[in-house]
């Protein structure tokens, strides 16, 4: 009896010791996943085909993104921020949670919109089919599109009514979440951490300056702003706040951020300037009557 128990114990130990080796050996025999050269994209009724997208890519895109899609095109050394490396399949603008692949429509919308403050223009002049084809081809550069599926889009609840209290609460969150450390107290992208920030390629990256424009990289609507800090911008220091910010708080933050864009009229700015406190704060930020005509807003 004791021998049986002993034998079973020894057998279990042996299995426990050898099993990982067997699995490792099995894994070593399996080839690593490779990118699929034949991909499709699906955006609404459109189906994009990578074969057609390849022709477009090697007409329009390779100069920056490189022949292999790894962002080392002949012009890449002169471009800041550097062109996207498609082999990593890491994308800033997504509707999906941080760390996950974007939807095809996210990539498609990026092509439509372009990226302000970068060398990436809007490709709205292309046909919808051509943009869908390009999305399909971009997916051929990374095996992630073979081994993973895109994430589930984060829900965006209806925007609550805009109030002064909402703006003020958003301002409190801006301090509490330490947004100012990167974006600066006035949202100029000049916070104390700004000079130290780098992206996933160890390249310097500048936080968004809310005062220059109302177009962020990932869109200009309030929904876009909400989505940005709930999904984060993968590959950059901008994290996802989905786990730390409640939806209603996120909307308050959106309302507050709009008041930082004091050169771009918005309902939030109008409401904020209608209060004595807001009027004073906004007026203090503006530099007027400079007569430079440079088009660069101070």
């Amino acid at each position: 009896m004791q021998n049986n128990v002993h034998s079973k114990f020894c057998l279990n130990i042996a299995i426990a010791l050898l099993l990982p080796l067997g699995i490792a050996a099995q894994q070593a025999d399996q080839p690593a996943a490779k990118p699929n050269p034949h991909m499709e994209s699906h955006i609404g009724d459109l189906t994009g085909h990578s074969e057609a997208g390849a022709r477009l890519y090697y007409r329009y895109c390779w100069g920056c993104h490189g022949a292999r899609g790894n962002g080392d095109g002949e012009n890449a050394p002169y471009v800041t921020p550097q062109p996207r490396n498609f082999t990593q399949a890491t994308f800033k603008c997504r509707s999906t949670p941080t760390g996950t692949l974007p939807l095809d429509s996210d990539l498609y919308n990026s092509l439509v919109r372009g990226f302000n403050f970068t060398n990436m223009p809007s490709w709205i002049a292309l046909t919808a089919q051509e943009r869908a084809d390009l999305v399909a081809f971009i997916k051929t550069f990374s095996a992630r599109w073979v081994t993973e599926k895109p994430g589930t889009p984060i829900p965006i609840p209806a925007e609550p009514k805009l109030t002064v209290e909402s703006i003020k609460h958003g301002g409190e969150l801006f301090q509490k979440l330490e947004c100012w450390k990167c974006h600066g107290q006035e949202g100029r992208g000049d916070g104390p951490s700004a000079p130290t920030l780098t992206d996933s390629n160890d390249q310097p990256i500048r936080p968004y300056n809310f005062t220059t424009d109302n177009r962020s990289k990932c869109g200009r609507t309030n929904q876009d702003l909400y989505r940005i800090f709930m999904t984060g911008l993968d590959g950059t220091p901008m994290p996802s706040f989905a786990d730390v910010v409640k939806p209603e708080d996120a909307w308050d933050l959106v309302h507050y951020l709009r008041t930082l864009q004091y050169n771009n009229p918005s309902p939030e700015l109008t409401l904020w300037e209608g209060t004595p406190e807001g009027k004073t704060i906004v007026a203090a930020k503006k530099v007027e009557n400079t007569n430079t005509g440079s088009g660069v807003k101070p």
Binding site: G63, S122, S294, V296
Partner: protein
């Protein structure tokens, strides 16, 4: 043909004066205009994009390049204003084409070495080079763009091919863009971005056709080309995606010449011309972007000089009188079938009876049986873009007179058929410079435009070009 005329007939300004003047004018036009195409590596350097982004095959624009141009040479991101560029960046590019070409003209009236007027076939050939374009363009500030093109003929004599400033996206709308200066008309089929360069194929026949008064008598009172850059003010508007485009131009009737002089060196009339163009593009699945449009030019030309200089008798600019009207209308379609694209164009032209018969409107009687000439034209141009490095080109144009200026003219006097084909190979595509092996053959048939000096009967002229060139821009 033009080069041949310059070389072989330049001393025969007597009996064959009209033909010589016509050929000389054509040669001058070809040398100064046909190479003034806009393919601007300075843009590629500024934005770091390969030529193939904006050009299907340079200098022909892609829809993306057309939108870039319509947006005031701007991508729409923060890299447009020069303040964001390196101070060392200079928006200048050069283009010129060393080449070998052969020109043949058949049925050409010439004077033989013994002084005898004869009709001969004349062929010339050799190495040559074109004029040079200095292409400077870009933005002065956000939404203020410019284009300046000093252009030389092959002797190095310069003129200004383009001089304009454009206020873009006024009122933050893509529908309000104002341009003033000398600029190319808003032609969908751009002659400044033509893919063929030879003496016979380097321009669009329909854009420059003017009817003959009679065999041996080319139009004499004015010069106008729809492909010529014009002086004036243009409003242009387009949808954000450039699918819809509209423009209206108010132009001085000078065919782009300065100092209020008309194209034939006389005084331009104190009037203004109007050009209207519009088009709409639509998507056709995987075939590509299709576009249809129309255009109309309503012009005036003086028929005599009201005032002349007391010193040398030259007409005083802008004081031409007896203005008479002419107009050009057309419809165009640009059809894409994957790698194959076809441009089709219908063209209609009409000249006032005084312009058509070369009669001054100062009370001079019209010739007997005079009419206002009119004509129809058509063009079909096909490109097969094998890839961004290789494009095959084919074009056929025809012009048919529907009403001769004089009843006694043969009904086909001035009719034109023109065929051009060739290919361009780009050994590399980069964001720094452009280079193409250019290969082209072109032949033009013109009916009854000359008089046989022996028989005194109308004869046609057939001229052809073969051209190989190294077309480069940097």
């Amino acid at each position: 043909m033009g080069l041949w005329c310059v070389r072989k007939v330049r001393n025969d300004l007597g009996r064959f004066g009209p033909t010589v003047v016509f050929c000389f004018s054509l040669a001058l036009f070809l040398l100064t205009v046909s190479d003034a195409a806009n393919a601007i590596p300075a843009f590629a350097r500024k934005y770091g994009m390969p030529c193939s982004s904006c050009h299907e095959a340079w200098p022909k624009l892609s829809p993306f390049g057309q939108q870039f141009k319509d947006n005031g040479y701007q991508m729409g991101n923060d890299r447009d204003a020069p303040i964001f560029q390196s101070p060392a960046y200079w928006p200048v590019a050069f283009r010129i084409t060393p080449n070998w070409h052969l020109e043949n003209s058949q049925n050409t009236p010439v004077v033989a070495a013994d002084g005898t007027p004869v009709v001969k076939s004349v062929t010339t050939q050799g190495f040559d080079y074109t004029g040079m374009d200095i292409l400077t363009a870009g933005t002065l500030a956000r939404n203020i763009s410019f284009l300046l093109v000093p252009s030389s003929d092959e002797t190095g004599a310069f003129h200004f091919e383009s001089v304009n400033v454009r206020l873009d996206n006024l009122f933050n709308s893509s529908w309000f863009n104002i341009k003033m200066g000398k600029f190319e008309l808003d032609n969908l089929l751009s002659e400044k971005r033509i893919l063929t360069l030879s003496s016979n194929g380097g321009f669009y026949q329909n854009y420059h056709f003017q009817p003959y008064i009679a065999p041996g008598q080319p139009s004499s009172l004015y010069v106008f080309g729809l492909g010529d850059n014009q002086l004036g003010l243009e409003w242009m508007g387009h949808s954000k995606d450039d699918r819809t485009r509209l423009s209206v131009s108010l132009l001085s009737p000078t065919d782009g010449n300065p100092d209020f002089q008309s194209g034939v060196g006389g005084a331009a009339g104190n009037t203004y011309d109007v050009y209207i163009a519009g088009s709409r593009a639509f998507e056709a699945g995987s075939l590509g972007l299709q576009r249809v449009g129309g255009f109309a030019y309503f012009g005036h030309a003086p028929t005599f000089a009201k005032y002349s200089s007391t010193t040398d008798g030259t007409p005083i600019g802008g004081t031409g009188a007896g203005n008479e009207a002419y107009y050009r209308l057309g419809f165009i379609g640009m059809w894409y079938l994957h790698k194959l694209d076809v441009t089709t164009m219908y063209f209609y032209g009409h000249d006032n009876i005084y312009l058509g018969t070369g009669t001054p409107g100062d009370g001079t009687a019209l010739p007997a049986n005079a009419h206002a000439p009119s004509w129809n034209g058509a063009l079909i141009e096909t490109h097969y873009t094998f890839n961004p490095q290789m494009i095959f080109i084919n074009r056929y144009e025809l012009i048919r007179m529907s009403q001769q200026a004089l009843s006694g003219n043969p009904s086909n006097t001035g009719n034109v058929d023109a065929l051009t084909f060739g290919f361009r190979y780009y050994p590399f595509i980069s964001s720094r410079a452009g280079f193409a092996f250019h290969n082209e053959y072109s032949i033009v048939w013109q009916r009854n435009i000359n008089i046989n000096p022996t028989t005194l009967l109308p004869i046609g002229l057939t001229s052809s070009s073969v051209m190989f060139g190294f077309d480069f821009a940097f």
